[in-house]
């Protein structure tokens, strides 16, 4: 444990002391495997993540395993640890991470990559996988970014591709068995690389073409699989779920009970990676969820519960679940925080019951400003639906609206961009039409936000050219200007972010193994906590790219041919490249695709024979 003097000197010492409600203590002498599970960001962010809680709970249910948590030390403690040579430790036992068998690192967003190097370095674990030997922990990555692990492949011994509930037991058994048999680290990694869903980067060779694209990607040995297929839970109502999640002492970002109602999404928005990765849609049984909710509230004492999924309105038992929760929570004085539901009569009714209408705001995510571009991205939300929803909401007493859009989508034109301002204006107009003067509480408040589009692997837009920083900013200025030209401009507030981080995210998202050297150099120059604007230093990154001779444009703005081998092609997420290409062509053709409940588009996920793939289709109406 850090000494009192250090703990009194640093910000929020509670980040580092462990001992929280429901944290798991075990006797380290009585377990075979010690697993350090790391979210490579500060405690308040990491503790808000459901996935870690699921894996933590599952691993600790295994009697032979003790899973502990590790988060990135904030910069103040980082400096102290380096100065005083204090090794990074896990929260529960406060033992050095280096003593553990495994260091699991969840990869939730690209901008945490330098934080991974901090965790490794402070732990005293060699940063490059090739430099590790003997008793160094096995460093294993997982989470959404592991679907293109290549930019960070050289830092990891293994990646777990897919949902964590299914393969860890076999991986741990293999580890135990080989450790007992006195087999080497290399032998273990070789065997692990043959397990379903497990990718061992050092077992694969990459060859490049002269233009920098990949010529071949293949296993070095005949017994190592050429394709790594994602792991997936087939029966979500019958698997691990953390009924006693760890409750932090300090306020964290997601400070409530989180009930994951389903995985996957039927919508098929073409920019969305999660919508493809987690196919097919699988629901949790509503009875199971009701029990979970009560038990988790009882075990944590939280005063709030929220539902989690990619699109909660598509959960078939939503009314039943919400009715039940509203009754229980009202009795227990517990708040329900609703995920962004599709705005319709049902959701407005629910929202008016669980939140203060005057204070809360409505959220729409049209993502694009024109119907043409919404068709390109397959966002099945029409202007009519948005305006009707807004009208009903305004009549119900709301007067705040949040709108989310993306800039830089494929085929985007100036008209599409200006459409963002026009749609914002139309919504304001609806307010002044729908609410008579005497009932208005001042002006309607519309907050329009844009983010910059990053093409992601395993989406139909994986072939798309990304905009440059200058183009992004031009687009943002266009929106700003257009908002100023609207009749209701005073009711509209427009937000956008800096574009530097987005460009880097674009590089990492579709990067290859050449990127690891850039990340290492940038880290050595002092890049850390890149997702925190106060720490992000674009100049250092640009220097690192230049020194490594790596072109940013190659990864972002370059046009990719249909038959290019992508760095992530060796992974199968259940959705075929042919399907994605079909969708890419439909996008360019401005043609929409129906959702999974309406008609199967033959993406490939039906081979799992679960969830929505086994449902009768409704056909395309309207």
């Amino acid at each position: 444990m850090l000494n009192d003097e250090i703990l009194l000197k640093i910000e929020k010492p509670a980040r580092y002391i462990g001992g929280e409600v429901n944290s798991v203590m075990k006797d380290k002498e009585k377990v075979d495997i010690r697993f350090a599970m790391c979210f490579p960001d500060v405690y308040e962010i990491g503790m808000s993540h459901l996935g870690i809680q699921i894996i933590y709970d599952m691993l600790n249910r295994f009697e032979d395993t003790w899973c502990e948590r590790v988060y990135s030390p904030w910069t103040d403690l980082d400096a102290v640890m380096r100065k005083e040579n204090i090794p990074l430790f896990a929260l529960e036992s406060q033992d050095p991470v280096k003593e553990f068998d495994f260091l699991g690192i969840t990869l939730q967003y690209e901008m945490c990559y330098t934080n991974i190097l901090q965790v490794l370095e402070l732990s005293g674990i060699p940063v490059w996988a090739k430099d590790r030997f003997g008793d160094d922990p096995i460093v294993i990555g997982g989470g959404p970014c592991s679907y293109n692990p290549e930019p960070i492949a050289d830092f990891f011994d293994l990646f777990y591709i897919g949902e964590g509930e299914t393969m860890y037991r076999r991986l741990l058994d293999l580890y135990k068995e080989m450790k007992t048999a006195g087999r080497s680290r290399e032998e273990f990694l070789r065997e692990a690389g043959k397990l379903p869903g497990i990718y061992c980067p050092s077992l694969y060779d990459v060859a490049y073409n002269e233009d920098g694209t990949i010529a071949a990607f293949a296993p070095r040995y005949g017994d190592v699989p050429a394709t790594v297929s994602k792991e997936m839970v087939t029966e979500l109502s019958d698997t691990y779920y953390p009924l006693k999640p760890v409750v932090p002492f300090i306020k964290v970002t997601q400070d409530r009970v989180v009930l994951e109602i389903m995985r996957g999404c039927i919508r098929g928005c073409r920019f969305c990676q999660a919508g493809q990765l987690y196919r097919p849609l699988r629901e949790r049984d509503v009875k199971v969820l009701k029990d979970y909710a009560l038990e988790m509230l009882k075990n944590t004492g939280y005063e709030e519960i929220s539902l989690s999924s990619l699109s909660s309105s598509d959960y078939s038992q939503l009314p039943e679940l919400i009715d039940y929760l509203m009754e229980e929570c009202n009795r227990k004085k517990i708040n329900i925080s609703l995920p962004s539901l599709r705005i319709d009569a049902f959701s407005l009714d629910v929202m008016s019951k669980v939140q203060d209408v005057k204070k809360s705001s409505l959220t729409f995510a049209p993502e694009a400003g024109s119907q043409r571009l919404r068709d390109v991205i397959n966002k099945g939300l029409t202007e009519e639906v948005i305006l009707n929803g807004a009208r009903e909401a305004f009549e119900g007493g709301w007067n705040k609206v949040k709108l989310y859009f993306m800039l830089g989508l494929p085929t985007e034109t100036k008209e599409d961009i200006e459409g963002i301002a026009k749609l914002s204006n139309e919504i304001a107009k609806v307010y002044y039409e729908a609410v008579p003067k005497e009932k208005r509480q001042g002006r309607v408040q519309i907050v329009t936000s844009t983010s910059f589009f990053v093409p992601k692997p395993f989406t139909p837009f994986q072939w798309a050219q990304m905009s440059t920083k200058e183009e992004f900013l031009d687009k943002a200025y266009t929106v700003k200007e257009a908002v100023r030209n609207q009749l209701n401009q005073k009711s509209i507030k427009y937000n956008y972010h800096e574009a530097d981080v987005t460009v880097l995210e674009g590089v990492f998202a579709r990067g290859d193994r050449k990127i690891s050297e850039v990340i290492y150099r940038a880290y050595k120059k002092g890049c850390l906590f890149d997702s925190w604007s106060e720490y992000f230093d674009n100049d250092l990154w640009l220097q690192a790219f230049e020194e490594c001779g790596v072109s940013i444009d190659f990864y972002t703005t370059r046009a990719r041919s249909e038959n290019e081998i992508f760095p992530w092609d060796f992974i199968s997420c259940g959705v075929s490249k042919e399907f994605l290409l079909r969708e890419w062509k439909k996008a360019l053709d401005e043609t929409t695709s129906p959702n999974c409940r309406q008609a199967c588009q033959g993406c490939g996920a039906s081979s799992y024979c679960v969830g929505v793939c086994t449902e009768e289709k409704t056909g395309v109406s309207k």
Partner: protein, 235 residues
């Protein structure tokens, strides 16, 4: 109906600040299924108030909070139910039912008793005991106290009720004003005493434990300090 709950806080829990402790107890009440009262309104909150905030880094054997409850079981039931859901380092010491007219925890606080020992390598290099009597014999003890509104000069003397040193244990014992109007931080007294002795106290010299929090059932002139849970009864 109001209950007064006494708890202790030690170990790593001393690094959990006052506001986080309140949040901790709000959740603990739900876990223990204590029938706590809620305020009315759109976002009801628990009826719970703390006696005297404890600084980060300070352990305590006598912290108090009052809660409102809608039904009564027994002191032992509430104490056990809460203790079953406590984390290591926090323990419920007593649960008492307050009389109808009892003053609330915060406004009834008059004094707090502290034990101060020395962090390893920071033990005083002078006879700490030697000058306490001289220090207290001063006509007044003028010090500059920093408050939120700026600094002001006050006389410490009437706020120090007991100040002694146990040579065997190498511990200072300090009973000082802890009322909301005149609260004195124990380290503040130590720093001033060091100054009196011609020394400078370092930021991390002292390990402070609050022994208990008291209310005054005597008069201002002739105080009679009793622990805050003295006013309640087992039920």
């Amino acid at each position: 109906m109001k209950l007064r709950i006494k708890f202790s806080k030690c170990g790593p829990m001393v690094f959990i600040g006052h506001l986080d402790m309140m949040r901790y107890f709000q959740k603990a009440m739900r876990r223990a299924e204590v029938d706590i009262s809620y305020s009315s309104g759109f976002s009801p909150h628990q009826i719970m108030s703390f006696a005297a905030p404890l600084g980060v880094g300070i352990a305590s054997k006598g912290e108090y909070m009052d809660i409102g409850v809608d039904s009564l079981t027994t002191s032992a039931q509430v104490k056990d139910a809460l203790n079953r859901v406590m984390v290591e380092g926090v323990k419920i010491e007593s649960v008492k039912l307050l009389p109808e007219n009892a003053e609330n925890a915060m406004s009834s606080v008059a004094a707090a008793k502290y034990t101060i020992s020395f962090r390893e390598a920071y033990a005083p290099d002078f006879d700490l005991f030697g000058q306490i009597d001289d220090y207290l014999a001063q006509k007044e003890i003028r010090v500059v106290k920093e408050t939120k509104k700026g600094s002001k000069e006050i006389d410490l003397k009437p706020h120090i009720y007991e100040f002694s040193f146990d040579n065997e244990k190498q511990e200072v014992s300090l009973l000082v004003d802890a009322s909301s109007s005149g609260n004195i931080k124990p380290v503040f007294v130590m720093e001033d005493y060091y100054r009196f002795c011609g020394r400078v106290a370092g930021e991390f010299d002292f390990i402070v434990t609050r022994e208990d929090t008291f209310t005054n059932i005597g008069t201002d002139e002739k105080p009679d300090f009793v622990p805050l849970d003295y006013v309640g009864e087992d039920y």
